[in-house]
Amino acid sequence: MKSEKKGFVWGHKHLLGLEYLTAQEITHILDTGESFKEVSRRNIKKVPTLRGKVVVNMFVEPSTRTRMSFSLAAKRLSADIVDFSPSLSSLSKGETVKDTARNIEAMGVDIVIIRHTAPGTAHMLSRIINASVINAGDGAHEHPSQGLLDIFTIRQKKGEIKGLKVAVVGDILHSRVARSNIWGLTKLGAEVIAVGPPTLIPEHIRDLGVRVSYDLDAVIPEIDVINILRIQLERQRSKFFPTVREYARLFGINSERLKRAKEDVLIMHPGPINRGVEITPDVADGKHSVILEQVANGLAIRMAILYLVKTAISE
């Protein structure tokens, strides 16, 4: 498989966010993901693309599915993968992220996948070390692989992104998934509607070309995709909304609400789900839901990301 197509050459050594990619580059990742999806259907689900390369999963913030997904993606590409999950507290007491990353690099690492609570940590790392850096979520900033797998899933179901109306529902303020989705979807020509209480929708999100609505029922009939964000319960204690019950009433996705939605509306969720809070179990497991397909697609997209950044180092 080649990363060159119609004279297009992938040139990013790091993947820090979708803000930094063009529509063409995003499409190229999605297309590459399609080819890797085929690998998952094979009897032997492994290709030698990254043989001899070392990938480190550095997750300074807890995660199960993203970490597993990257691990599995690296293994299917025949890379050696090391999981390293220091706790934030041990880092702040002793070694800094900078020193930790340099130590890891001294062991001859080619790609570092980093998840951290602080925005910009992947950028910082990319300045310090020579290895490729993949941002697996930096605070509320970006989560590019999640944004890509969401868009990948939408494209698979809808054929094209352009012209679609995608609602992102919930805590936009603290969501890296929302930001990566907004960058990616708007670049590919979709309209994004941020839906949630005003306390969780920053005013300036409009400047990214996003429409804002505080009334889910008003917008539900016109939208093609609903991407539901996880509600973090600690936000309630920080006065962003009065009770979880009220949040669920106003913004929870249930089958009653969905009756007014388009016939072929897609229900997405980056997980982990709070069943009964932002989404009811019957919707999560219902016919519109593509939540598990998102997880499956995540693997293909992450293989594509690892493969592409590797081609950039090789050149």
């Binding site: 925005p119 910009g120 930096d138 930001r179 300036h204």
Partner: protein
């Protein structure tokens, strides 16, 4: 032995004699002294560390500085710096701080009391003067804490601090949250005619904020500090100043609305003054984005927007803002070289201030050279009530000589400061202090 005693006596006596007898002539410079409304090419004669005369006649002197083509001003004053001693001597000491001041053209600095322990009593204020005397370069003035331990609960022994040399009171780094405490501080300090310098910030609105709240914080996913967090406190303090007739000085003002509040208060003759930093006059929050989260742009109050920068510039021009300060806040590299969220706030500025203000504001005709000098000399001297910032006959011969045509690049590795967290690193600027003279002694170069 007798000859040894005599020899020692001479060593001790020599500097005393030299000091008493020394004369210095600064000739042919363009002398700008806003305090005396002087702006002309002339000479300054200095004797015994004092200004003896300003005028065209030339007297013989022990040393002569030919300042043809250069600007000669009263020694510059930076009324808001953090020298970190006692407590954080790895980041700055009074000794390294005064060297940085001299290198930047400042003959006087006023240091903030957010040290460890806080400068909240007479002995600690005197410690600042003692260390400054040992360092023996620029003048250092101590600002005392408003409240004991800077906790914002009980007012400090302001009378004792005043006796120890405090020229103002501030809990800088922390806002005085309790309105009654602020009220009493403004009232009590009237006895000494010294300002209460407040760092205006509603901490409930700031929460875990690390940069200006706006478009850039939204894109970067960083917690924002809204402009109103400052403005609410500026408004509260102005109304308290009106109530108490106390002297209020707003530290490092940053927003358009804050400036409007101060301007209106001045029109109502409320006793309020304000200061602004070069970074708030020149940089915006967009630098955090374009630099990919460089923590050298993390500062409190945060870098704001273009609209605010424009308003600050106009206010500096029309006098709504009185003084320019560096808010020099040294931090070690290991402290700054971490994730954006956990890096400390602050940037250094004493050695870059003159270059960036001359280049970005004076050369670009935002403010005049005379206005800049006023904001760095007579204005801060008046606010703190110190006998500096003037070339009047009989005044201390504190003088800064500036070469407006000197092109140089800001390189923090050459700074005298112990820290390197300068947001203007790599900037090419025009204009530099070439001589810094304190009490008649030419210390730079």
């Amino acid at each position: 032995m007798a000859w040894q005693l005599e020899w020692q006596f001479c060593i001790w006596l020599k500097p005393l004699l030299a000091n008493n007898m020394t004369t210095l002539l600064i000739k042919n410079g363009r002398v700008i002294d806003p305090a005396n409304k002087i702006d002309k090419v002339t000479n300054i004669f200095i004797q015994d560390g004092k200004i003896k005369s300003v005028g065209s006649q030339i007297s013989k002197a022990d040393r002569t500085l030919d300042t043809k083509g250069l600007i000669v001003t009263p020694g510059l004053i930076d009324m808001h710096v953090h020298l970190r001693e006692p407590g954080k001597e790895d980041e700055e000491t009074i000794t390294s701080g005064v060297s940085a001041a001299i290198n930047g053209g400042f003959t006087s600095v006023a240091c903030m009391p957010n040290t460890d322990p806080a400068i909240d009593n007479e002995a600690l204020a005197e410690f600042v003067y003692l260390q400054a005397k040992r360092a023996g370069k620029s003048n250092v003035f101590a600002i005392g804490a408003v409240t004991k331990g800077r906790k914002g609960e009980e007012i400090s022994e302001m009378g004792q601090l005043y006796r120890g040399g405090a020229v103002g009171f501030s809990d800088d780094g922390e806002s005085i949250k309790n309105s009654e405490v602020m009220r009493r501080a403004l009232e009590y300090s009237r006895m000494f005619n010294k300002p209460i310098i407040n760092h205006c910030e509603d901490t409930d609105l700031v929460r875990d904020g690390v940069m200006n709240e706006g478009y850039i914080s939204t894109v970067l996913g960083l917690s924002g500090i809204p402009a109103v967090a400052e403005e609410i406190m500026v408004y509260r303090d102005i109304t308290l100043a009106k109530l108490t007739q106390g002297r209020l000085h707003i530290a490092h003002i940053t927003t358009k609305k804050s400036v409007e509040l101060v301007r209106r208060a001045k029109e109502e003759s409320i006793n309020v003054t304000a200061e602004v930093t070069p970074h708030h006059l020149i940089l915006t929050d967009d630098y955090i984005r374009t630099s990919n989260f460089d923590t050298n742009y993390k500062v409190n109050p945060p870098l704001r927007t273009k609209t605010d920068v424009q308003a600050l510039r106009e206010a500096l021009k029309d006098g709504a803002i009185d003084a320019i300060v560096s808010d020099h806040a040294p931090h070690s590299e290991e402290e700054k070289d971490v994730e954006f969220n956990i890096a400390p706030f602050g940037m250094i500025g004493m050695e870059s201030l003159l270059g960036v203000i001359l280049t970005e504001l004076v050369l670009k005709k935002v403010i005049t050279l005379n206005r800049m000098i006023e904001a760095l000399t007579v204005k801060p001297a008046q606010i703190l009530g110190i006998p500096k910032g003037t070339l009047s006959v009989g005044a201390d011969a504190d003088i800064t000589v500036i070469d407006l045509n000197k092109n140089w690049e800001i390189d923090p590795s050459t700074f005298k400061s112990k820290s390197r967290n300068c947001p203007f690193a790599g900037w090419k600027v025009k204009g530099k202090a070439v001589h810094t003279i304190v009490k008649g002694q030419v210390i730079l170069p």
